[in-house]
Amino acid sequence: MAISRRRFLTWIGAAGAGLSTVNTAQASTLTQFKGHPEGLGVLHDTTRCVGCRKCEEACNTVNDLPKPDRAFQDMSVLENKRRTTTKAFTVVNSYPVGSQDQPVFRKIQCNHCLEPACASACFVRAFKKRADGAVVYDPSVCVGCRYCMVACPFEIPTYEYDNPLTPKVLKCTFCAPRIEKGLLPGCVESCPKEALTFGKRNDLITLARKRIARHPDRYIDHIYGETEMGGTSWLGLAGVAFKDLGMREDLGTTPAPALTSGALSVVPMVVGLWPVFLAGMYGMTVRREKIAAEETRSEIAQAVKETQTLADEKMAKALEKAQAEKRTALEKAEKEKEQALKDAMESFKKENEPGEEE
């Protein structure tokens, strides 16, 4: 019985492995970036976290941050919901959760996204995702537009608003300088409860799965950051719903660059097609105007011609009339002359016949 049960488990395991290969195969046909295979990460297990703030203190030390307003030993700060600031790259908040008598603690810091929104948004490429997993910032080029802060879905980057000359964006660096030297990130090193585990992201996912599988009653069956916004290098495990720990569950799996790639791909289309279309419109307008102008011109010509003929006709008529008048006048004059001659002749004749009258 025991044997068969073990086998049964093995079969399940084999089936599970089969399923996961299918998943990978499917995923690889999509062009989703799965992260650098050697990329590092940190797993934060909130079921182990006791809210001691040791990580906050270590982070403050290794990053040479200013002294906190209230000492790291002061646990009363946990009562307020806090976020990352220019003075604290990581904070631990306490979340009262209904069914449990103990509050749950969660550490907040940059999640070092596999395809970071901040890096995609920056117009001077001040952010870079390194092969080791860290998302690092170069203050020497940052213009201070703060679009990275608008873009970050985890509301992590902070800004030195009170610095008039060289304000910088500040956030967790994944302790990149320490990692390069082979050291652990400050926060991970200082954690007394091993709530933070540092390692290759792929191994951490395996580890997290194992923990969930070993204690299904203790964990929610989800690794936060495995797929959120395309995946993050820092991962989270919890025993209560993530949204009860202030972690958004509605972020989706689309990485940030994919959200804007559509709009960006339209740019060459607009640049290529719009001028052609507009020039075409202009050409048509010009042609229309030219045709209109030509029509007007020929109309004018026609009108001029018509007027001309009309005028010519009139002139001719007038001339004819004048000539006719002249002719009749001449004829009349001729007639009058003849008549006058005739009359004269007749009166002369009469004068020469006096005898007849006496």
């Binding site: 201070g144 679009y147 873009a151 610095n163 958004r248 559509g262 419109m281």
Partner: protein, 390 residues
């Protein structure tokens, strides 16, 4: 000449100038504080709210309302509405001033404004929509400057250069439309990267299309509105051509605005249906959304239509105010009011008094520059020597 001088000295003591003077002084004081003490000394910006009204109003609204330049020059030079020719210069001038002061205001908001050219020098962040906005605005400002230059050159009496600038008109117009299409839409696309922060009723994959189409509405309505206002205040600088073309222009642009608004309303509804967020319409944000889409899109669309049908110029002019208010509302909704809607009120952004001062300061500077220019350069009238050169 003496009459002109008298008019000037008369205008110097108006209440308008008094208020403008106070605003200028207040603006200069805040400017000094901003650049010596940093952003936190004058703004309510925070780590949750990196963008306030200097982006939401000065940039987003400023660019949208300056769309009159490309809309008018495209209508007149490319789409053959030559009869509205006299509207081009005032529209180009307001466009140029609008963009110029957008860039000035941006320098207040940037943490290190002297690095403004960095995106084009040190790091080509081509994955960023802000990069596209920056590049297009920079280029378009140059185009507007060139488009405006004939007026300045005529005023200065450089007739040869003037001729050269005149020949570029068509190329510049096409270039201007392409650049405007790109950056007007990209301003909307800026928010595509933050679906988790912008309220779903405003977040849409169509954001760039919305911004572009509504910029045409903004451009048309602003030309009508500016025409009305200029008519009131600069009547003496207008020539017969301008005055004669003014009413037909109001009608023509009113008709165009009605059409574009109808299209805009339709695609807004398409986006709403595609997002399938009908259930959100009954929430407070939903009601606010309806105020915007019905009160400031659908109603102006209907009023424009009625105004054009009845040839009611007063109604068209009134509607242009409503439509412009709608654009302002939309840009503020997307960038400030419905942005970070998920945060509790204590973490939301409300502009500080000083931020408002700078915004009013910028608007005042635009008005003063506009007045300075139109009372001197041939904007509302043609220069006698260049009557037939356009």
């Amino acid at each position: 000449m003496s009459g002109e001088q008298k008019a000037e000295s008369r205008t110097l003591l108006t209440p308008f100038n008094l208020i403008a003077g106070i605003i200028l002084i207040a603006g200069l004081i805040v400017t000094v504080i901003r650049f010596t003490k940093g952003l936190s000394s004058v703004t309510n910006l925070s780590d949750y709210n990196p963008w306030g009204i200097w982006i939401g109003f000065d940039l987003m609204v400023g660019v949208a309302l300056a769309a009159g330049g490309y809309v008018t020059s495209a209508a007149v030079y490319l789409f053959g509405m030559k009869k509205f020719h006299s509207a081009v210069r005032p529209a180009i001038l307001t466009g140029f001033l609008g963009y110029f002061f957008v860039v000035v205001a941006l320098n207040y908001d940037l943490g290190q404004p002297w690095r403004l050219p960095y995106p084009f020098i040190v790091g080509w962040g081509t994955t960023s929509l802000l990069f596209e906005v920056g590049l297009c605005v920079a280029l378009y400002l140059t185009v507007l400057f060139l488009e405006f230059s004939p007026a300045a050159l005529e005023w200065l009496g450089y007739s040869k250069t003037r001729k050269l600038a005149g020949r570029l008109t068509i190329v510049l117009t096409i270039f201007g439309v392409v650049l405007s299409t790109l950056h007007q839409s990209s301003l909307g696309a800026l928010f595509l990267i933050a679906p988790s922060k912008l309220h779903p009723l405003w977040y849409s994959p169509y954001l760039p299309v919305y911004f572009f189409v509504s910029s045409i509405v903004a451009g048309l309505s602003m030309v009508i509105l500016e025409g009305t206002l200029s008519h009131k205040f600069f009547h003496h600088s207008m020539d017969k051509t301008y005055l004669g073309e003014h009413d037909p222009l109001t009608l023509g642009f009113g008709r165009a605005a009605a059409l574009v608004l109808a299209g805009y309303f339709t695609i807004k509804m398409v986006g709403l249906a595609a997002g399938n967020h009908w259930d959100l319409l009954t929430t407070p944000y939903g009601l606010w959304y309806l105020v915007e889409v019905i009160g400031f899109v659908l109603i102006p669309c209907l009023l424009y239509t009625v105004g054009v049908r009845d040839r009611n110029l007063t109604l068209i002019r009134f509607t242009s105010v409503l439509a412009v208010a709608g654009i302002i509302l939309n840009r503020l909704n997307v960038s400030v009011i419905a942005f970070n809607w998920h945060l509790p009120f204590s973490e939301r952004y409300v502009p500080s008094f000083q931020e408002v001062v700078i915004t009013v300061f910028m608007v005042t500077l635009i008005i003063l520059s506009f007045r300075f220019i139109v009372t001197r350069m041939p904007i509302f009238h043609e220069h006698p020597d260049y009557k037939d050169s356009h």
